[in-house]
């Protein structure tokens, strides 16, 4: 027996908004009887273009019915733009969570919502460039990729829980693994440029010190000058000039065009060098 939350049981036993809206503004059907669950979602907008009413019909298990019921409750009162931001995780969260094996029920809800909004906007939901990966359940590479990205999936098993892909004959497991490998590699490389500036303060100060020691001080000392690091506040690097530099008329140019430039290059492009009282 599945471990359903009280909220899932409540929405299954007493579903909210069951039925169909006559003359709806947006309507969509997803899933199929062969796949074991199907959802028909319809909604109507009010004069302010907010979703005034939403109804569903579901063929499926308790969590499929509860997910559809939850979806209609979530989207009521929302604008189309707000509704478009709803993810399958929002549906699952609304229900206090779903068993992992049942997450595909929430994905079905998100798909129905997107398709119904497309229907309202008069655009085609079909993406012809997408290729069917799982023939048993008719799941495309695009759908699998989106589930991986949105829900941070890392294994074929998880992909099956969320999309059903691979849950039938199993012949597509290698293809799913290939999509996983590709998406996870892409996610890693997307992350890298973000990670570089995310230095802790201690790391940043240490790198500034090292850069001064290695790249800056030898040049200044060569000209009879020197520099001391006083403090680092955010991206402001506070320094004091010593020796020849302290009396040099060109020291401001040196600080900006040499010291700051070196620190930007070796530590972080956001750094600004300021001279403080000696």
């Amino acid at each position: 027996m599945w471990e359903y939350t009280d909220k899932v049981r409540e929405h299954f036993l007493n579903p909210k908004n069951a039925g169909e809206i006559e003359d709806p503004d947006g309507v969509a059907e997803v899933g199929s009887i062969a796949c074991g669950d199907a959802l028909k979602l319809s909604f109507k907008l009010d004069e302010n273009k907010r979703i005034a009413d939403a109804k569903f019909k579901t063929f499926g298990c308790a969590s499929a019915i509860a997910s559809a019921s939850a979806l209609t409750e979530i989207i009521k009162g929302k604008t189309i733009e707000e509704a478009m931001k709803i993810t399958n995780q929002d549906i699952a969260d609304y229900l206090g969570g779903l068993p992992q094996e049942k997450m595909h029920c929430s994905v079905l809800g998100q798909e129905a919502l997107e398709k119904a909004i497309d229907n309202y906007r008069g655009v085609s939901h079909k993406k012809p460039e997408e290729e069917i990966v799982c023939a048993c359940f008719g799941v495309t590479d695009g759908e699998i990729e989106r589930a991986i990205r949105q829900n941070h999936l890392t294994s074929v098993e998880e992909v099956t829980y969320y999309t059903k892909a691979g849950g039938g004959c199993g012949n597509c497991h290698d293809k799913i693994q290939a999509i996983l490998d590709r998406v996870l590699a892409a996610k890693r490389s997307e992350k890298e440029p973000e990670e570089r500036p995310r230095l802790s303060n201690i790391q940043k100060i240490r790198m500034i010190e090292e850069t001064i020691e290695r790249e800056i001080r030898p040049s200044l000392q060569h000209d009879g000058g020197d520099i001391d690091l006083i403090d680092v506040i955010g991206n402001r690097v506070l320094v004091a000039t010593r020796g020849a530099c302290a009396t040099c008329q060109a020291s401001q140019i040196t600080l900006k065009s040499f010291v700051e430039w070196k620190l930007k290059e070796f530590v972080s492009p956001d750094l600004v060098v300021e001279e403080v009282a000696k």
Binding site: W2, F12, L13, P15, A18, E29, I33, A34, C35, G36, D37, A38, L39, K40, K57, T58, F59, G60, C61, A62, A64, I65, C136, F137, T160, K164, G167, G168
Partner: protein, 393 residues
């Protein structure tokens, strides 16, 4: 709330008489039957009694009975033993509708290089005997065909299948877990070499099973250890379980007629009433070659797990062959092998009765289930209430 238990093919209640027989062996009579002292020796005599009772229900000799831990162990032992004693043979014949204890093991062996033929069934769940016969080859090490299917209750012509195997010198095993205690079995009069049964399907406890091995059948043990079961299954005996199983077999022999009259009548009334009250419902499996206690009914355009959970609100226990309850994403392999359409397969419910069910149990289901199906059909996009018929969306 009263529990109406109609899931006896999953497991059964340990009957009071069985429990009473077992209880002394947990605390007062805890001796090891292998011991030299009389405290243990007296327990050994109880094991021998139980072995006789089990043998008697099967029409077997007591020494042909090996006690195991469960039906799965018996099934695994039978297959693995047959392969080990005939190392040159690499072919296994079985059916597409076996219990996972056989099916998954055979799939596993297929990956290890064995050739497995899974014989099909027709739309009524009957074994294709022509395909079966044609699949038996000189390379076949074992043929294993279940005697009765756990999901549909359909009984296979296992005695004929065993004869065909024996004619070709092939060892024949049957998973008889669902049929023992419900239909008379006489091992003296058939050609079955090995047979598995499970205690908890006939009102004995979980954790006790039997593998019958016909005298003269080459055998290689699965659990290797002590001399228990004449070295054919190592491990200290589950004394209480064996004693309970002995009692359960004795009771089953006595209640077999009731099973085929009283239980069959309850089942038929349940089935006929539901079919009459609920449109677009049908029975899966041929109706006149079935276990007397089992019915598998599909309710079109609704999903099994939802039906089960709504019945659960009324204390009714049953099973479903739907994807959501099978632990996989596809409906039961049995219904798929039968070619049951998806519209029907997802909404299949198995009721399996026992002698402990009452007319009131059946009345409750007949009263509560039709509105449940109605409620779910109103929710279903495939069901148009105003037309009372299906739509294709």
């Amino acid at each position: 709330m009263r529990t109406v238990y109609l899931d006896n093919n999953a497991t059964t209640m340990v009957s009071r008489e069985v429990l009473d027989e077992m209880l002394p062996f947990f605390h007062d009579r805890y001796g090891n039957p292998s011991s030299m002292h009389s405290f243990g020796g007296r327990v050994a005599r109880e094991l021998s009694d139980a072995r006789h009772k089990v043998a008697s229900l099967l029409g077997a000799d007591p020494e042909e009975i090996i006690f195991t831990s469960c039906g799965t162990e018996s099934d695994n032992t039978a297959i693995m033993s047959s392969l080990l004693v005939k190392p040159g043979k690499t072919h296994i014949v079985t059916s597409r509708v076996e219990h996972p204890a056989i099916k998954v093991l055979c799939e596993h062996l297929a990956q290890k290089g064995y050739r497995v033929t899974m014989v099909g069934v027709d739309s009524d769940g009957r074994l294709d005997m022509d395909e079966y016969e044609a699949s038996l080859t000189p390379d076949t090490a074992i043929a294993s065909i279940m005697w009765a299917n756990n999901e549909t209750g359909v009984i296979f012509p296992v005695e004929e299948a065993a004869r065909l195997a024996r004619d070709r010198g092939i060892v024949f095993h049957t998973d008889a877990v669902q049929i023992v205690g419900k239909i008379p079995i006489d091992m003296k009069g058939n050609a079955v070499d090995m047979l598995s049964l499970s205690g908890h399907k006939l009102h004995a406890p979980k954790g006790i099973g039997v593998l019958y091995v016909r005298k003269g059948t080459k055998f290689s043990p699965f659990l290797i250890g002590g001399h228990q079961e004449k070295g054919r299954r190592g491990g200290t005996e589950n004394v209480a379980g064996i004693v309970g199983l002995g009692k359960a077999c004795e009771l089953a022999a006595a209640s077999m007629e009731k099973e085929n009259t009283y239980v069959r009548a309850l089942r038929d009334r349940l089935e006929n009433s539901l079919l009459a009250a609920i449109p677009q419902s049908r029975v899966n499996g041929v109706r006149d070659e079935r276990l007397p206690n089992t019915t598998n009914i599909s309710f079109e355009f609704v999903e099994g797990e939802s039906i089960l959970l709504l019945m659960d609100q009324h204390g009714i226990c049953a099973s479903s062959g739907s994807a959501c309850t099978s632990g996989s994403l596809q409906p039961s392999h049995v219904l798929r092998a039968m070619g049951v359409p998806y519209t029907m397969a997802h909404g299949s419910i198995r009721f399996s009765l026992s002698v402990y069910n009452t007319e009131e149990d059946i009345d409750l289901v007949i009263r509560e289930l039709p509105p449940i199906i109605d409620k779910l059909r109103v929710l279903s996009p495939y069901w148009a209430t105003e037309r009372g018929a299906c739509t294709t969306v």
